[in-house]
Amino acid sequence: MSGLWHNAGWHGKAIALLLLLAFLAAPLVSDRYLLSVLILVFYFAYLGQAWNLLMGFAGQLSLGHALYLGLGAYTATALWTLFGIGPWIGVFIAIPVAAAAGMFVGWLGWRFAIEGVYFALLTIAFAEFTRIGFDHLQITGASGGLFLSVNGPGADKWWNLGGGPLLYYYLSLILAVGATFLVARLRQSSLGYRWLAVRENPEAAQAVGINIFRARMIAMLISSSMTAVGGVFYGFYYRNLFPSQVFDISRSIELILAPIIGGLGTIFGPVVGAIILTPLGESLTGLMEAFGINAPGAKLIFYGIVLMIIISLRPDGVWPWLARHLKLDGARK
C-alpha cells in the first residue's frame, strides 16, 4: 500500500481519505437501512478481494468459492453451537479447514494441468459435491439447517459475534479495508509480481525461476482463507445456515460479480464493483416500488441487462476507466 499511497496524486489521496472517513462516520448520520446495505457492500467487497487475488492476480478462474465460504461458515458456527467455542477461536479452525479444501482443489487442478474453463468446472464440481455432502451431514443438521441461538449464554456479546448492526457494520468495514490493504501490500511485494507473471504467461514465468505451482498454491491458500473468514461473518450475521444457500453455485457467482465489474486484477476494482452492484439491486427494488410495479422478476431482468451493458462497454471493469477520468494514478493497479 505504501508504494501505492506515495504514487497516488493529492486528489487520489483526498478521495480515499474522504471515502474512508465517510464510511467511518456513516453510522452517526445514516439510517439502519443504509447501514444494512453498506454491510452487504463491504461484505461483497471483501469477498471480491479474496477472489480477485486468485483470479485477478494469479489468473486462475474459480467458480466454486462458495466451497470456502460454506466451510468457513459451517466450521465456526458448528463449533459455537455444538461445543460452545466462540468465533474468535473458531475462525482459526475455520481458516485451515477451508484452506485445506482450497489446497486440495488447487493441487489436483494444477498438478494435473487442468486450466481455464476446465479448472473453473473442477471448482464448481467440488463446491456442488460438498453442498450435497452437507445436505446429508447430520451433525450440522443436514438439509434442515444449522441455527444459532440469539439468547443462549453469551450469544449477544460482541466477542461471540452477536450484537447490533454497529458491530457488523464496523466488522465488515474492517474486513473490507483490511483486505484492500492486504491485497495492495501483496500486489507490491515480490509475490505479487510473481503472480502477475504467472497470470500473464506461465511458461515465461517459469523461465525466470518462478515455481508456478507454488505461486498458485499460495494464492489459493490466501484466497480460500480470506473467503472462509467471510463465511464466518456470514454465519454469525445471519445466524442460520443451509447447505442449499451457502454452498450454492449462485453464491459463487454473486461473489465474483463485483471484482469483474469493478476491474479484475486491480486493487480497488472489487470495492468499486461492490459499491455499484449492491446499491444497484436495492435502488432497482426502490424504483419498482416507487412506480408501483409489482412484477416479480422485473428487477432482476434490469439487473441482468445492466451486467451485460457494463461488461460490453467496460470489459476491463469500471475502476480503470473511473480512475482515468478522475485523473488518478495507478489506474492499472
Binding site: 502477475l196 504467461n201 511458461e203 515465461a204 523461465a207 525466470v208 525461476g209 508456478i212 486484477g265 492499472r332
Partner: protein, 240 residues
C-alpha cells in the same frame, strides 16, 4: 578447462520419432556457442531439454558440475541458466520495467533492489526510455530485446537464446549482435540457436550443426562452414 555446460548422449523421441538422438557437446565458460541446422533438425527440442521445458528420454545434461536433466524450467533457471523464447512471451499487461523486475526478483525479494537491477539491464539493452510502456505496445525488435533483458535480469551464468535475431532487419540484427558481444565480454556465456548466419559467424566461437536430430559437425565457424556434410545437408539447401 571444465565445461560450463556438458551435454552427453542426449535423446528425445516423440511417439517413436527421434527428434534428437545421442547428441553430445560442451560449452566452455565465457564462449559463445551456436547451434545451427535446417528446420526440423531438433534445435528447439534440444534447447527445451536444456532449459527444462522438456524431459529427455536419455542422456545427461551437466551444468556447473550438476546434473540438471529432468529438472523443471524454474529449477534450471534458479541454477543460473536464462533463456528467451523463439516466439516472444512477454508479460503483456505489465510495463517494460515490471517485466524485467519479475526477472530480477529471482535473485532477491527486495523490490528496490530488483528495480535497480532492472534499470541497469534496461540501460544495457537500450530499453530504458520505454520502461513505462506496456509490453504489449512494443514493436517486435523491442520485444526481442525485452526477452533478453528479462533473462539477463535473473543474473544467469549461461544465456540461452532461441532465434533472437529471426525476423529482424539487418540494422537491428547488428544492434543485438553488438549488445551480445558486450555481454559476452563482461563474462557471460551464451548458447544460441540461430538461422541468421551473418550473426552466427559474427558471434560464435564454435558451432554445432544438427541434422535430423543428430550432430553432424562441430568446430569453429570456418571449419564447420567448409565441412562437406554441412554444405550438402544445410548450407547447400538454404544458404547457397
Amino acid at each position: 578447462m571444465t565445461a560450463l555446460l556438458s551435454v552427453r548422449d542426449l535423446s528425445k523421441h516423440f511417439r517413436g520419432l527421434a527428434a534428437v538422438s545421442h547428441v553430445s557437446f560442451d560449452v566452455n565458460p565465457g564462449e559463445i556457442f551456436a547451434i545451427i541446422g535446417p528446420n526440423g533438425a531438433g534445435k528447439t527440442t534440444l534447447f527445451n531439454m536444456i532449459a527444462g521445458a522438456m524431459a529427455p528420454n536419455g542422456g545427461t545434461i551437466t551444468f556447473a558440475g550438476e546434473h540438471i536433466e529432468g529438472l523443471r524450467s524454474d529449477q534450471v533457471a534458479q541454477r543460473g541458466i536464462g533463456r528467451t523464447f523463439q516466439v516472444v512471451k512477454p508479460f503483456p499487461a505489465l510495463t517494460v520495467e515490471d517485466n524485467v523486475v519479475v526477472g530480477a526478483l529471482m535473485r532477491t525479494n527486495a523490490l528496490g533492489e530488483a528495480r535497480k537491477v532492472a534499470h541497469e539491464v534496461l540501460t544495457q539493452l537500450d530499453l530504458i526510455g520505454k520502461r513505462d510502456q506496456l509490453a504489449s505496445s512494443l514493436t517486435l525488435p523491442d520485444r526481442k530485446r525485452l526477452e533478453v533483458a528479462r533473462a539477463l535480469a535473473t543474473r544467469p551464468q549461461l544465456l540461452l537464446l532461441d532465434e533472437v535475431m529471426a525476423g529482424l532487419r539487418p540494422t537491428e540484427t547488428d544492434r543485438i549482435v553488438s549488445i551480445l558481444r558486450d555481454l559476452n565480454r563482461s563474462g557471460l556465456t551464451i548458447l544460441l540457436i540461430e538461422h541468421v548466419m551473418r550473426a552466427v559467424t559474427a558471434l560464435a566461437s564454435r558451432i554445432l550443426v544438427l541434422h535430423h536430430g543428430a550432430a553432424i559437425a562441430e568446430g569453429t565457424p570456418d571449419d564447420v562452414l567448409r565441412n562437406p556434410a554441412v554444405i550438402e545437408s544445410y548450407l547447400g539447401a538454404e544458404a547457397l
